[in-house]
Symmetry: C3
Subunit: 318 residues, 3 copies
């Protein structure tokens, strides 16, 4: 990438709260930047000074390993100063409101807040009330936009395009913020999306999102170019929403047998962490069509791109 | 600030254990430095190399969000290397003595130890036994000197002086390290201090501290130029020290009605986190006389100043 | 140290999983490097750019204060980017396999993984499956190689040599990864090792490790030049493996009375954290022959050396 004025971002992000309503131009800008940052990650010293002096606070009000680490790595590789904390040990347990916590963070002159929260809408609530830029790292059953972006980045790099691509999202659609962000993003990019899973885990309003439901997995696989397998929350079994894990695997699990029955190759994705032997079999997860580890790598690059576009810095690669 | 020799600090701090006994000269030096660092925080890249190569360990043996983050930010903005840990996960749970833990830290060549501990006197205990500089980030019901300093910084910036100022401290005086540090510091600076709260939460020896007790809040508000509202520990209710939260709010809560009854404007402070609707009402906390968020901002600047004066580095702004 | 080509390490470490089978040449190289890094730690600004751009992930699946901090300090003093996490809050609790967790870390282009785990063999399991370099920070009852190295560094600096030295390891040998790493390392360096402790805490295969068991502590002390006192896990009492802590102290505790009965001086080591009054008395721990705090200091230097040799960088001191 050159440092010429052409390198200036076209799209200025104020926040990244979700992919619902985001333009194709903005997604393209993020994915193009992420491709550039992927090149940075492959350098012997994968570090750029883009965010030097920018302070990023990572608020994780919900457990996470990989998303938190992925953000922290993206921040450190851009030379940001980072502050991280998880729920335990925070003054949340002292009964302070979310708003007070974040107002305080803002008064400490923090530039960017990355927030994961179990309440859908928490990032929006903050963004409406504070000056700092807000990045949603997953909120309730609402959205997980950087996951949607990294899934699209992975597909675009694997297949070469998103336009016209048939993508099947498989699993617990009703409770999945990953599904929602993928549907919004993929449709904006001109892909076709269908969703597949047990009727008990299918949202009633799924058609209004623009994704057609399919209840037969083999039919879905025949249709699609790529399948994005969602993690099954194992507590669904206790709540009676699925009969048993074995039964789930038999009906909706991505097994090698199913893939071998197809007359074509499809791309296999999973946002992780996987329940091997439940929603996906090990030999599929580790098999030749899986791009699951690529997704993880691309996650860092996508987060670097989002941080860059949000920080408003004009040059990001020296 | 210039880099001339005049910029050398007059006061060399070895430790910051409390404001009891500290000189007016030392407080003035810290507050003047903090004003300079506040200017640093307002730069596009709020970072100085003052503590490059200095290692600071943040020991939080008691929960804290804002104080811990405030110290970490101050350290990172001065380019220190930081190590942080909270009680859980520390070898404290393995039964090691506090002294052994800290001796080990010292043997690792750590320059500055920031410590919060539930035992009054823990920072002094350490300072007497180790070579590293010790900063008290709150010990039991004893002192919280950086809170006292940031409160004074906020007042001095808002009103222009501390000398002769009438400051009311409101709430649970008996259990408050914030109250103690404020009383010691304000008196050293020539301010007048009165304290107000229920008799059950008033220390018997309050007069010996130099602060006169008042049991009628309206009388106290009439007298003061500024009121510092302490957080009420909600467990005081269970222990029977206060009748009920509603009753507490009615008698000692800072409400808009009370402020509107006054014939003058007073400055409203709170160290946070707030119990909105208990010791302070939301429209006061967020109202025009509140400097509560300024306190948070000033906290980072004050901690930078203390770290700078303790590190003994001569130049702190490049 | 010069930057000439002679400074290149002779030994290239791929991983550091244990001291079992490591060559005398490799240990010597690490200890020589550690001596150099100890000099770095004594500089006014104890920081070198050796690992700039290298990312190190610290995985602590088991509680630790000092080992975690020691590694983090070593990494920061070499200018590495570090990511740390402990079990709580990790996706391990979501049922993900250790391998999946680490594959994800690897996909994030992390160069070095430092891992502590309650399962013996966990570091080896990872090293066999991922590209990143793996450093064992303690695995089950298997090995704790950086502890063994820092113990040897301390002895070598104190006495001047390891060859021919008589070292007694005292305490719960059966459950101690520290004992195992010391035995392997010391024997490789030509030292003689005997082990002493209650029969209930002596492994049956101890002779096959090359260390002779002694059940009388005074006899062991008469024989040795240095004694390495292991931490007693206090839960051994509940399990009935030791009669009582008082009885343990009387029979196997390192007391001043015992040391004063000797006709010579011996070096006293302990890996910490200590149970003062159980396996070691306070006046021994803090006495003139104790090198316990030196061990802590040397721990940082040894870990810097290991990180340097594993990173494969040719110049480590500017």
């Amino acid at each position: 990438m050159t440092n010429s004025t052409e390198a200036k971002p076209i799209v200025k992000l104020n926040h990244l709260l979700g992919l619902d309503g985001i333009s194709r131009e903005a997604i393209t800008e993020i994915l193009d930047s992420a491709d550039t940052f992927l090149g940075v990650l492959e350098r012997p010293i994968p570090k750029v000074p883009s965010l030097r002096g920018v302070t990023v606070a990572n608020f994780f009000f919900e457990n996470s390993t990989r998303t938190k680490i992925s953000f922290e790595l993206a921040e450190k590789r851009m030379s940001a100063d980072t502050i991280s904390f998880a729920t335990s040990g925070s003054s949340v347990s002292k009964g302070e409101t979310l708003l007070d916590t974040v107002r305080n963070i803002e008064a400490m002159k923090i530039d960017v807040v990355v927030i994961r929260h179990s309440a859908s809408g928490a990032p929006r609530f903050l963004a409406d009330r504070i000056e700092s830029a807000v990045i949603n790292a997953g909120d309730g059953q609402h959205e997980h936009p950087t996951q949607g972006l990294l899934d699209m980045m992975t597909l675009r790099r694997k297949v070469g395009r998103l336009e016209g691509l048939n993508v099947l999202i498989l699993g617990d659609i009703a409770h999945s913020r990953v599904a929602r962000s993928n549907i919004h993003g993929l449709l904006a990019m001109g892909a076709n999306v269908k969703v597949c899973g047990p009727a008990t885990l299918m949202p009633r309003d799924i058609e209004t999102l623009g994704a057609e439901p399919i209840f037969d997995l083999d039919e879905g696989l025949e249709w699609c170019d790529a399948v994005n397998v969602l993690r099954l929350q194992l507590e669904r079994q206790k709540s009676g929403e699925i009969p048993s894990l074995r039964e789930y695997n038999r009906t909706f699990g991505l097994t090698r047998a199913r893939l071998e029955r197809l007359t074509k190759e499809i791309v296999v994705m999973h946002p992780g962490p996987m329940n091997r032997g439940v929603e996906i079999d090990s030999d599929v997860a580790d098999g030749p069509y899986s791009v699951i580890l690529n997704q993880v790598t691309h996650g860092v690059a996508v987060r670097m791109a989002v941080l860059y576009l949000i920080s408003g810095r004009e040059r990001f690669v020296e």
